[in-house]
Symmetry: C2
Subunit: 298 residues, 2 copies
């Protein structure tokens, strides 16, 4: 059976999502906690958004496959459902910077990565020194120059839609950099925090942070409103674009279709990736690689 | 001249506000940073709310008296005002869990402690495990039982006004426990966080946390709505009242009268404290102590 787990974490003290030898990662902590609480030798999870070092999540989604008897068998005499009992046990084992919010048996065809319709990230910035907040310093970037939200929105509008975001992606051999940017807009809240909402079918490596870094140069008046679009069209990384700090970025939500559409969506995503990567190979002459390992990591 | 400083801090790693030998405190950090940035041997600050270990602040206010030439003399050739230059220098020296938001020459008669009209604290709780947020874990209490905001408000209404809050105060010889509770209400925000707003002319030691701890027993159904008022009227600490954890508490705001009223307010507050403490001595037979060192610490 497949289990879906929704979780939140403070990325400050993690070397990102993906397991790396000798480093503290969210995936390794979660897999160890799953093995302990399910009393199995090891567990392997697949996530919707492979967040980078220092990036946070409130809406991360993973799946893990376990033998049918494991979940019910590990519950003991609790009156809770097996899923709720697992959620509590996981939170009892996990460190305080990871919190499991939901555990549920996954519907048929669910794949945390390939069934996803889109990922939504938020990037938060405080640009008013009288509003700097030590309680939020781990996930809100302090910016010393005032930001013009209207300029940020005007510049962002030109980036929406399907484009080759190569200018904002870390180059990976054989992986496509074509993405559909569904939403990119900026607001200022009652506490003076400027927030970017960035939503796409998927992101390539460091894409959100490169977009935000580029747009911030418009927001604080160093570049004209049309500059981010010019960078996009040129299609190569521009040394003038600074990748924004990781700690302002949070994976807020991953959306999935209705249960009946899950399997079809996963197959469609896989096929699209294979085709796009094949095309990418043909046009760029790059070596044929694995299908894009770009489930999105902001 | 007197300087007013507004500051915010994450209280997690501090042994409270007040300087204590061998312990890390906000006062000691701030006084050291002031001495360094003003190039004076030492500085002594007076604060509006002496927060306890683990309690946070967004709206702490202090004053410090310096010789007239010190502020202007320490600025160097900056084009900023001396006050703005000092704010920047302080933030350059202070650790990341303290942030100075404003520095200004204080108006005549200003006293951070005695001129204050009221202090406002917020206590934040998340009672829904699907909303537990590691990014807010340092300042929002996780509560495992669901809270009834209507019951919390009904119970709180009976505590408003001037009362002897001895039942909710740590007893101090010769100090009055009469306070005026100006506001005590509860809301639930869009993120599921339950927030108490607690506002009074001043608070005695651990008063907000004792009030919140008492009310939480009503909010999660362990006690009837009338219980907190019964405790108040009995006037002695009830062992059934649990003092709520420090980390959910934040000093949000300190209010002062118009500039013309500052000196009168300070004199009035001092006189009231002396009178109340004398009365308290007479009725309780306690030794005459200093005037209540209860500038408020939640």
């Amino acid at each position: 059976m497949r289990i879906r787990i929704d979780l939140a974490y403070d990325g400050s003290e993690f070397s990102g999502w993906a397991t790396q030898p000798g480093l503290r990662t969210v995936q390794a902590e979660l897999e160890a906690a799953l093995a302990t609480s399910l009393r199995i030798p090891s567990a392997r999870v697949v996530c919707a958004g492979r967040t980078d070092t220092g990036v946070h999540a409130r809406g991360q989604v993973v799946h893990v496959d376990v033998d049918d008897h494991v979940l019910a068998g590990s519950v003991g005499r609790s009156r809770q459902t097996p899923a709720e009992a697992l959620r509590r046990r996981l939170n009892g084992i996990l460190p305080p910077d990871i919190k499991v919010r939901r555990v549920a048996e996954a519907p048929a065809g669910f794949d945390a990565r390939f069934s996803a319709l889109w990922r939504r990230y938020a990037y938060r910035i405080v640009d008013d020194p009288t509003r700097f907040d030590p309680l939020h310093r781990a996930h809100v970037l302090e910016w010393s120059r005032r930001l013009d939200v209207d300029a940020l929105n005007a510049a962002s509008d030109h980036l929406l839609g399907q484009h080759d975001f190569a200018a904002f992606c870390k180059r990976r051999e054989g992986a496509t950099t074509i993405r559909t940017l569904l939403d990119l807009h900026w607001t200022r809240d009652a506490h003076g925090v400027v927030e970017a909402t960035v939503r796409a079918d998927a992101f390539c490596h460091s894409m959100v942070r490169a977009l935000v870094g580029c747009l911030l140069a418009v927001g604080d008046g160093r570049q004209p409103v049309g500059w981010p679009h010019d960078v996009l069209v040129r299609g190569v990384r521009d040394p003038a674009v600074t990748v924004a700090h990781a700690h302002g970025l949070t994976l807020e939500e991953v959306a999935y279709p209705d249960d009946a559409e899950l399997r079809a969506r996963a197959e469609q995503t896989r096929a699209k990736r294979v085709a796009a990567d094949a095309h990418s190979d043909a046009t760029s002459g790059a070596q044929r690689g694995a299908t894009g390992e770009d489930a999105s990591d902001g």
